[in-house]
Assembly symmetry: C2
Homo-oligomer: 281 residues x 2
């Protein structure tokens, strides 16, 4: 399996620094974040990753389709993903309209079903636009603890139901161990997903959950997830793409990014790569 | 709908104080916690609730069936539920073996599927014991953010699959809005549950989630849940039992319990009871 670095695992690095880090550590693909690409400049980023010979495994992220002003920004995100020849544009679909991550509740809607219909409607607009530009969208189900503020799509089954009307080459799904490990149906849904898996992202789920639940992600091996069955299911489903290490973690963000990337490589080999005994014979 | 007080909503009250509070506020049923019953004395509690004419809507809780020493304590819990003539004994099934709520990870098992098999096996032992004593067990799926440390059962579908081999009068399920509101399948699963619903518990899901995720519960109306569709589904499924207000919340625990119970009654009328327009005609 090919490990990719999601840029926010080494969040203090600029795009240029992260590209350089990948080259130095022998990592062949990178998942980029739009705000960092904008800070570096889109054309400059295209040149950097091209010059380094890196694949862009994903662009993070479009989405927040439940807000009222989702359209222009998502068209821009698709254009950026096209310019970067990104493997996919990750879509975090958004929470209840008006609920803002980290902020107290103000005016908002409790209508969860209506929010989900908004997502379905927006996909109907974005999918043709992405198809015409050769961009693959990737719906990411998020852990249910983010349902109110970040994603009203909480399970892989739900993401696959939404994706079903579309060509898998246009609308795929993200399998992220952090978000899905608890789901009693996850292995069956990964098998169902098959070629629709546009991205496999790995990181661990910490216990206890830290005060900021967004930062409950940990280095593989530091949390509670058994990666073997999930990874085996992703491989059995036919996935041959890059595997992104994506960790939001305050301690890792404060650490030396080179040390974090080196540790990620070690832990990836221990917890994610198929064991020699499993690949032989 | 008949509102019941789950004792931990007014956690500073002893059993005697909570029984008295129910009587003074015109609440006809109470959900009790085993440690508080033990502090009051089981026989004394039986006398108190009997003397007050209260129903015991539930006894909280048995479970933690994934630990190695689950059996004796759960048999004791069933005996206590029988003595109290509780509507059900709530089972919180436990997390990954060795993972302790609130404590750093030590020696533990990442084998989630094995933990779930342990739950199924334990139910096979406990169900006949409960049946013989006239006690109804109630499996409670908990929010997936508690999967590691409190309950490897995270969805109503999963609880119903586990319960299927058993008589609904012996093994039911708990529908708790806090745990299930995010589930895209929850309304269909409530319909499937039908007479297996042994308890309907209500409280809101706060946003942002507070630093201690166990205390993310809030008074109905203070969080993000739309109670109407869930309550309607529970009623349509044929549930006619008590509806417990169960809120773990640091601010409410620090407040005057009488004020909390009074507010719970008001909010219950606003958010849970069918509106007059819905019950008429």
């Amino acid at each position: 399996m090919k490990m990719a670095l999601n840029q926010w695992t080494t969040r203090s690095w600029t795009v240029a620094e992260a590209v350089d880090g990948c080259v130095r550590h022998g990592v062949e693909a990178i998942g980029l974040w739009r705000q960092d690409v904008a800070a570096q400049g889109l054309a400059a980023t295209v040149d950097l990753v091209g010059g380094a010979g890196l694949r862009v495994s994903s662009l993070c992220r479009g989405g927040f389709l439940t807000s009222s002003d989702w359209e222009a920004d998502n068209r821009a995100a698709i254009d950026e993903a096209a310019a970067l020849r990104a493997g996919c544009l990750v879509l975090v679909v958004g929470g209840l309209p008006g609920v803002v991550p980290g902020e107290p509740l103000g005016g908002f809607s409790r209508d969860l079903r209506q929010a989900r219909r908004r997502v379905a409607d927006a996909l109907g607009v974005l999918a043709p636009y992405a198809r015409d530009r050769g961009v693959r969208l990737a719906l990411e189900p998020l852990h249910p603890m983010y349902c109110a503020d970040r994603a009203v799509i909480s399970t892989l089954a739900q993401a696959l139901d939404l994706a079903e009307p579309y060509d898998p080459a246009v609308l795929g799904v993200v399998v992220d161990t952090f978000h899905l490990w608890w789901d009693p149906d996850v292995l069956a849904q990964i098998a169902r997903a098959g070629e629709r898996i546009a991205s496999y992202q790995v990181c661990d789920f910490l216990h206890p959950i830290p005060p900021d639940v967004l930062l409950a992600r940990g280095m593989m091996g530091d949390g509670v997830i058994d990666f073997r069955p999930i990874t085996d299911a992703v491989l059995a489903a036919g996935y041959t793409g890059d595997v992104e290490v994506e960790i939001f973690n305050a301690d890792l963000w404060a650490a030396d990014p080179d040390a974090v990337l080196a540790q990620a490589k070690t832990r990836f080999a221990e917890h994610i790569s198929p064991h020699p005994a499993e690949t032989s014979g």
